[in-house]
Symmetry: C2
Subunit: 465 residues, 2 copies
């Protein structure tokens, strides 16, 4: 039984109006996790989802307490001992909708225009969560069972980057035990180009202080005879990058970077890359980066070191003739296989020590060894199952691609449970996630539903160890 039955297709067709009506109900909850006044809306949204999980046929539907907003849980574990068990992940919280005046329709009044549904949370992440629930419901309706054992968690703090999920996973390891995780919070490669994210960049960050004196001086009294922390900071920060193409000059920074293979390079060169979209989105006149790599390679398969903040001295109105005693910078790195966050931090610390200007003391105020970079082998059985399901639903072979960012849950599930993840999402990069007029293409709602019903059958046939 490796393909969805014709029953499934018929059910999807017959139920579409109800599906969209229910999706609109979900999108109406202003479940903004960043705003404490929305706490009741988050709880209402979570309760609605728990009722949904029960209604579609899952068992143990419940709200599990965390240090913050509850996690919606449900499972169905009757596919038999030989069938794989998957942990399906999504989130019900959304970004704040502001600035409201830029929305063409109110963010919590879902509106369908031009084949898209507009609402805060439309692409990130409610439609993706919801189509997964409807795929499960459809299988129950059409076939009376699921091909796999499934555990569903929908969290309420993804947009917060709180630590509650990590603690929850740690404390509920037995409950969440599975063979593979399916993360429905990602994008297709582009419109008309289905794809699966198989690589994520990792993260390391630190904050530093450059100190040249104990107290600020007055330039009329001391100007000309003492060091200035901002003068010391500039060459130190300048030493981090090559001026011509921005490559990172921290010694050893690229040593652990896995070279891009000829095969990858050749494969990626066939992917569409919309340079104009980037130029337009940021308002930049040209791209900038390592000369030996294409922009797509640089965005996904090459590490970065970005200054995220610099400050020191006086930033108020007018002038203040101060000689600052200290200056500060925050920087963060996107890492790729096989860089280790701790090792990269060590290299940066060493570089800062070596390049500290005379008379200046450099101290590290904090460090964050964040997610490790992730790269799932393309031959992973769950990836093969996803490829087959996408090909079936979209009528074209999906591409395997890497993403430039990190998905914390993937790293947490790997580290805490040893779980591999498949990032099987249906958003598009230009659907205004986190911005006004967020939307989701209904075509991908339909194809996503068909993909997921096919996926569970394909996964049931895969050999996961």
């Amino acid at each position: 039984m490796s393909l969805p039955s014709s029953q499934v297709a018929a059910t999807l067709e017959a139920e579409r109006d109800r599906h969209l009506a229910e999706l609109a109900e979900l999108l109406r909850y202003p479940s903004v996790s960043a705003v404490s006044a929305r706490r009741d809306d988050l709880l209402d949204c979570a309760a609605w989802l728990r009722d949904q999980l029960e209604a579609i046929g899952l068992e143990h539907a419940s709200l599990l307490a965390t240090g913050g907003n509850p996690i919606v849980y449900g499972d169905w574990l009757h596919a038999g001992p030989d069938a794989p068990t998957a942990l399906l992940y999504g989130h019900y919280d959304v970004q704040p909708p502001e600035p409201l005046e830029l929305w063409h329709s109110p963010p919590f009044e879902p509106t369908i225009r031009d084949g898209r549904i507009y609402a805060r949370g439309a692409t990130d992440n409610k439609s993706q969560v919801f189509l997964n629930l409807k795929a499960i419901e459809t299988l129950f309706q059409a076939e009376g069972a699921l091909p796999c054992n499934v555990k569903v968690i929908v969290e309420g703090e993804e947009e917060l980057r709180a630590d509650n999920l990590e603690r929850f996973v740690e404390e509920n390891a037995a409950l969440l035990r599975a063979d593979v995780a399916v993360i429905c919070d990602s994008n297709l490669y582009a419109a008309g180009v289905p794809g699966i994210v198989i690589g994520l960049r990792g993260m390391a960050a630190l904050e530093l202080t450059v100190r040249t004196a104990e107290v600020d001086g007055h330039s009329g009294v001391y100007g000309g005879a003492v060091p200035n922390a901002l003068h010391a900071l500039s060459p130190l920060l300048d030493s981090l990058h090559a001026r011509d193409d921005g490559r990172v000059l921290v010694e050893g920074f690229y040593d652990a970077v896995r070279p891009i293979t000829r095969e990858e390079r050749e494969q990626w060169s066939r992917l569409p890359f919309d340079k104009e979209r980037i130029l337009g989105a940021l308002g930049v006149s040209r791209l900038f980066g390592e000369a030996d790599y294409t922009p797509l390679e640089r965005l996904t398969a090459r590490p970065t070191l970005e200054l995220n903040g610099v400050w020191g001295g006086y930033d108020g109105e007018g002038i203040k003739t101060v000689i600052p005693a200290e200056a500060h910078a925050k920087l963060s790195c996107r890492l790729v296989p096989d860089q280790e966050p701790e090792e990269v931090l060590r290299l940066i610390r060493r570089h800062l020590d070596r390049h500290a200007p005379p008379g200046a003391a450099v101290t590290i105020d904090f460090e964050l060894a964040g997610a490790r970079p992730m790269l799932t082998p393309p031959g992973h059985p769950a990836i093969r199952a996803a490829v087959a399901a996408l090909a079936e639903a979209y009528g074209t072979d999906p591409v395997l691609f890497r993403s430039g960012w990190s998905v914390p849950v993937v790293e947490i599930l790997d580290r805490k449970l040893g779980l591999d993840s498949v990032l099987l999402g249906f958003g598009l990069p230009d659907e205004n996630a986190h911005a006004p007029n967020e939307h989701f293409h209904l075509e991908n709602f339909d194809r996503g539903l068909r993909t997921m019903t096919a996926f569970w059958h394909r996964l049931a046939g895969a050999r996961l160890d």
Copy 2:
């Protein structure tokens, strides 16, 4: 009549207790110009001074309105048409006394310990103003007249750097007309080393923005492919100074700088220079600056370009993986003869244009062409009069030296009235001006009184054009 009569010495001796009691009255006013709640205290202090001016024998004692706190005015113009007319300047406002807990005695309860009087305003500037009033009173008491025509102004917003004084001088040019200004708001060279400031540095300042995009980017989405404003800012700021000794690399910056003469260099090399005091005051381990000049030369006869503030991106708690679209810097220059503020600003703008990194736009957000540098010829008749008076009162030849800062009133009087200034003050550099436990050495109160009674006689004999 070129020396003070013996009558003067006797009067000074007899009146000392009364002088100190009156000085304490003046120091008790909490005339903090920065705090609007102190407005009544400022007015009370000004009224007390007006009454003093009348009591010591000046005429037209009055409070002249400005856009802010009033200026105390009084004059005596009966020395005859051949006698010079001097404009004597001081201020009655003081800095805020905070932090109060660091004072050993309350800032507005003047206390004499170890030959010093402790109070906010003790050295900056009330004792200096007051000893000048007592010198005038003493001449009236001992000789029944002054050797020169004198106009006194005591302002109430020196610590504010408000624009009211400039407007007042402009609108009262006839009233303030004089042959020379005597500014009693400066320091001796050091304890036991009387001196006269003959040079002041000028000022030019600007704020710039470096922009590499229209909006900030997310490093997970765009990191590796687009420019970062903070990366562009670092080499631009680094280009302003030589890394080894901090000399300014703006092309043409030093072109107009008048070289230090062999005579000056030789003369300054004999001045005591307390390097340890600077190291201790700022908590720096070593001095830093142009290798070809001594610290004293760098502090007073060489120009500087200091970064006063730098900011861009995220400076809050934790990390934010932003690629900043813009970054900012404030810088200011201390100028020396014959640099012109406007020309220096032009050179800096040109440098910034030439060194703008590719893909980065540099804009100037504001400019300030401040005070022009000042250098009074040592042979100026009023300087010679001051030298003779100091030598007489201190029993040693005073030194002529330059100061590293600007005194706005000197520049205003020069620009608006064409007036030369003599900076004839009696403070010491380590009397905690603007800091807790401000004090004034009573030895310099006594010697200052004797200096000023002698000075007016010396000035009367000088030929001012």
